[in-house]
Each structure stands twice: as C-alpha cells, then as structure tokens.
Symmetry: C2
DNA sequence: GTGAAAGCGCTAACAT
DNA sequence: ATGTTAGCGCTTTCAC
C-alpha cells in the first residue's frame, strides 16, 4: 500500500519530527498520509462524512483508529472561528442555587458536542470584568450569564465581541442579546399574596444581601403592606439580611435575631431553600411549631426541599429548563440561525408543602 | 506618526479587511501597527513586559486600550502549546460532594490566569471515554479527575496525550501521573473504631451504590465485625444501598427500610452528609432519638453539617485543599517544573458533633 | 468528490 | 531590545 519498509503491523505512527516546533503529536496530516489522501479530505471525512466517498471514509477512519488521532480543537477553532466552547458565569457554585442550571447546561451542551467553561464572578462583581476578558479571549461560541450584566464596560465588551450572550435568572427590557429568566418582583408579590391567603398577618423576610434577593424581599414587603400584613403601626415589614451566599448557619442565626426582635411573626419568606433549612432547624431547636406558629417559605425548590420535615413550601424555578434552553439558543445561533427570538420568561410556581 | 490621512482621534481602528477570511476582530497586528512596532514586540509587551522598553510598553498598552483588543487565546495556545485551560471531570456536580473541589479549583486556577473546563461523567463511566476525547481535543494544560481512572483505554489516551493528570479523591499504587486523595478503607475503619469507642455495638451502613462508597462501607463492616459490632449470630453488618448520587429523600427512605429490617441498630454510617440529613430528618419524623437511640455519622462535612439539629458528626475531607493543590501541581508542571513529586495523601478527620 | 493554496492570530527560533 | 521568518494544525476558498 505504501513503500516504506516497516509497514507490517504498525499500530502507532511514529511522527517523523521535521521541525523543532512540532509538538510531537499525531496530526490530521499524519492521518491523511496514512489513508493516502490530502489533509483536507481527511478533514471532510471527519467533519462532513457525507461529502466523502465510502471507500475513502473507511480508510480515514481506520487511520484515525490506528494512530489514536484526536483532532486539535484549538487549531480547528482558529481556522473556522467556531470553538464549540460555551462559557458560563455564576456568582458562586456553592450555594446550590445555580447548580441545576450548570448541571443541565453542561449536559445539554455535551449532547450537542460543546463543552462548558465555568467562571465564578462572586457576588461583588469585582472580578467580573477580568473574568469577561478571559472568557472573550477564548472566543467561545456563547456566554451564559447569571443575572443581568449591569456593568457598562462589561456590556460593551460583550457586545463588541459579537459573541452570542444569554442572560438568565432575571428579566430586563434591555437585554444584551438573549434572555431566559423570571421576575423577582412577581415572586415576592406572589408569595405575599399566597401567605395572605393562608391567613398570615405578621410576615417577615430573611434574605441574602444580594441584588435579586433584595428585590424579591422588597416586592414581598410592598405587597404585604398593601395587604395589611405588616406589623400594626409600622411602615415596613420585619426583615433580616444575611451576607450572600447563604448557608444553613446564617438561616439559624437569622431566625434567632428575628424572633428576638419580633417574637410575634407568623410567616417568613426566605431568600433561599438553604436559609429555609436553617430556619426549620432553628425552629425545631427552639420548639417553634412549623407551620402552626410560623409558616416558612423557601426559594429555589432545591432537591432537599420536598424531603424536609416538615416538607418545605418554596418557589420553584426550573433551572434545568433554563440550562437546556440556553444551550439550545446558543447552539442554534452558532450554527447559523440568525437572530432568533431569544427572550423567554420561564416564570415560577409556588410549590405548596407542609411548612405553610 | 503614520501617513494615513484620518488619524486625528480614532478611537476604534476600523480593521481594513483585506482578505475574506478575516474574522473582523482586532488582532495583535492592528495593535502593533497602531503602536508602530512589530507584532512580536506587541506580543512581548503583553506577555513578558520586562523584555520590552518602557516607552514601547506605554505605546502598546495605549493601543490596546484604544482598540479594546482582547488576545485570541486559541491562536496563542496553538502557537505556544499552552492553552491555560484545565479540564475537570466529576461524576456529577449535583450531590454537593465535589462542589468544594470544583469551587476551589476554579478560584485557584483563575488566580494563576487559567480557566476551568467542566465535564460530568456520570457514575456509570459510560460517557467517560467520549468526554475524555473532547477534553484531549482542547489540549488543556492539565486534567483533574475525580477518582482513579479505571478504564484502560482512558488511561492509555491520557498517557498518550502527554497532558498532566491529577487523580483525586482516592489513592492507588499505580496513578496515571499525580494523585491527591485519601484512603476510603481507612475512613471506614476509623469510623467503625470511633463508634466502637462510643459504646455502639449494633452498627449499620446506609450508602450510595458507587465504587468508593462501597469500599468505605466494606471496610467499615469488616472492622465492625472484627470488633464484635455486628448483630449477634450474623456474619455481616446490616446495610442499605441507594443509587448514586444520593439525596435527602433516599436517606429518609433508606432509614425507613433499615429500621423495618433491623429495628435494634444503634449507630449508622452514611455514605454522604446528604444521606445523613435524610436520616436525621426521618429520625425526627419517626421520633427516633439521635444520638440516644441511634448515632449517625455522615461523610464529607458539607457546609450544613455543623448547623443541623443535632449537629452532624461526619468525616471531613478538605476539598478546598484538594482543589488548590491540584491547581498548583498543574500550573507548576505546565510552567516547567519537570515531574515534581505529585502524590499526596491528604487524609481525613472525624469531626465529632452531637449526632453521636 | 477531491485537492492545492492560503490563511486563521499568534509565538518560537533565530537574527540583528 | 526589537525584528524577520516560519510555522502551530486546521479549514476556507477556489479549482478541477
């Protein structure tokens, strides 16, 4: 088949190093040579098999097998301006709130043949610009942001880069590009109305000191006041702020403080299920009856919410759908579909369980 | 400075599109032209500033500022064989066990100027080979694996790729490359001895049906039997398996089953804190006193363990240290240090709290 | 259906 | 300290 003397059963092609810069790996060139075709033909056999004749396809595939060739996506991406990489930015991965999104994003992208690059911005937005530069430098085929990008320079850079962007977990009239989220104001209002309907009249909030949580709490408070659920004679709803990201301990401490200041509250809206778990735990430790004395509502419907005792009433956000939809939007966009309609309010639902 | 007519106050260099393939973005070439130097000099100004004179440094930096240039790391990586990308593979990100590692890995890498690519293999290892191919294709500067790579083809591919590998969360005499982990057998033994010391005599296990959890449970059982903690007349320790990844509901159901079959157990070793939370919850729901009637030990020392009621005794694994050490190993390796000693047993500790 | 040529944007190697 | 040259490994473009 070829004229080299040593071709009896060569499993691995020892790449003849001709220049000092070659990294030593097996390249498409080697595969093509082994298959007896031009590199571009080998490339077609791998990327657009339908454009190549059956016999050549076979030979190329066999050559790939024999050599253990793995395409260099850096080179491919550079040549084609398609990296098949998608970057995701979350405030933090611990805290569990964004886990479902990241999980489903990773899985959905993998199904399309894309990979996920993960970045954590922190809640402070300080590292966000820096992170953005690192992301854009990789020329990903898309960027998924948690929350709206508020920094003007960040918007600018993203816009200038031309990379498809999906903002998530919030709504805005002025998205950078695509948007998949829900209204935090509506969540707060809905929970207030729900608790009002359950007969609660002295409500309080316990929430993380981050932007979106504050907006939920504010809307909750406004609605509660409008419905006459604030403390008599007070113009504000009792509330306790804890630093983000939340954890169980902050929930326990938060409830202690809140009860010390307002022993008579009868319902509590927490900014996350994790905080709510802390509240349930502290309530149990103090002998506070839930829901009899105190109704508790969480946020997020994390995996454990349904299995607590009492089972936690919470606001369900379909993180899996956010992730899957974001993946689809980006893949479609990167594969040609120009400017599809990319704004979705995925809404939320209150999952009523035993804690109210 | 140059001879084009329109150079009064140009903020953005409109890239003169000379070929139809140019992606339209600003390149190092544009920056160099604006600064009046050769591309390689601009490259040096950005990557090794100490190798460039002060005035040129200034001009290049200004040109970067003016143009909004963001280096193309695909091109840089291709040219230098340094991608500044590190891939991490975890069974799943939900389940929280590996969160701390991923979190600290992301943060540590970012501090070094590296990014993390995240892949989920599932517990079945079915997608692992496929995932590995996608990873190797990106030519990352390192791969962090959760657990030991058992698939022979996987080992082969990784070895052949020459990419630095860190296996974590386990120990082996035969690592692919570097290793940061602890002994699951020792964990099981230590917990059995600990419970024996607390006077427990009828112990049981409740664990995920994954390889490492099974080994912890097995070692626990063997030690328990040796110490005379199995049920009288039985040769095995009572145990209940649940599918991985674990969750709170599985913990609750697991305890129900276990108590139905062995109502007299006095201590339970769980394969994760999440399962243990389910056990505590179910115990509370059934009125089983913890630790009086039943001592409970978790695994992982997740964030919430210390804040449960009763606070959970558990096995602490320093995930943050695993992540930070893995990041350091890989960065050092990729920056030259040849073959440093890269095997670390980070051990574990039993954190004694109220649940025992 | 297959191939030759010409880059993608950057940096290693070798000057000067 | 700065520049010239020649790729990195792949794909686009244009021919055949």
């Amino acid at each position: 088949m070829d004229d080299t003397p040593a071709n009896k059963k060569t499993i691995i092609m020892p790449p003849p190093r001709r220049s000092r810069r070659k990294s030593g790996g097996i390249t498409l060139r080697d595969v093509a040579a082994l298959a007896g075709v031009a590199p571009i033909t080998a490339s077609r056999a791998l990327n657009t098999p339908s454009a190549v004749s059956e016999p050549i396809l076979q030979r190329v595939r066999q050559a790939v097998e024999q050599t253990g060739y793995v395409p260099n996506m850096l080179a491919g991406g550079l040549a084609s301006s398609k990296s098949r990489l998608v970057a995701a930015v979350v405030p933090t991965i611990s805290g569990n709130v964004f886990l479902e999104v990241v999980q489903s994003l990773t899985a959905s992208l993998a199904a399309y043949g894309y990979q996920l690059m993960l970045g954590q911005s922190g809640y402070e937005n300080s590292r966000e610009d820096e992170l953005l530069e690192a992301i854009i430098g990789r020329r990903p085929d898309g960027v998924v942001l948690t929350g709206i990008m508020h920094s003007a320079t960040g918007r600018q850079r993203l816009l200038a880069s031309g990379i498809p962007v999906v903002e998530t977990w919030d709504l805005t009239d002025n998205p950078i590009d695509m948007l998949i989220g829900f209204s935090h104001e509506e969540v707060g209002q809905a929970v207030a109305r729900y608790l009002h309907g359950r007969g609660k009249r002295r409500v309080a909030t316990l929430g993380a000191d981050d932007q979106r949580a504050r907006r939920r709490m504010q809307a909750f408070s406004d609605t509660a006041i409008a419905l006459g659920m604030a403390h008599p004679g007070e113009t504000a709803v009792a509330g306790q702020r804890v630093p983000a990201p939340t954890n169980v301990g902050l929930g326990r401490a938060g409830l202690r403080e809140l009860l010390a200041r307002h022993p008579d509250i009868d319902a509590l809206f927490c900014s996350s299920d994790t905080v709510a778990l802390g509240v349930l735990t502290e309530a149990q430790a103090q002998g506070v009856q839930v829901p009899r004395q105190l109704a508790v509502v969480g946020m997020g419907d994390l995996g454990f919410a349904r299995d607590l005792y009492p089972a936690l009433t919470t606001v369900r956000i379909d993180g899996a759908r956010i992730g899957a939809t974001a993946a689809r939007f980006i893949v479609e966009r990167s594969q040609g579909s120009r400017m599809r309609e990319g704004v979705v309010d995925i809404g939320f639902s209150i999952v009523e369980r035993e804690s109210t």
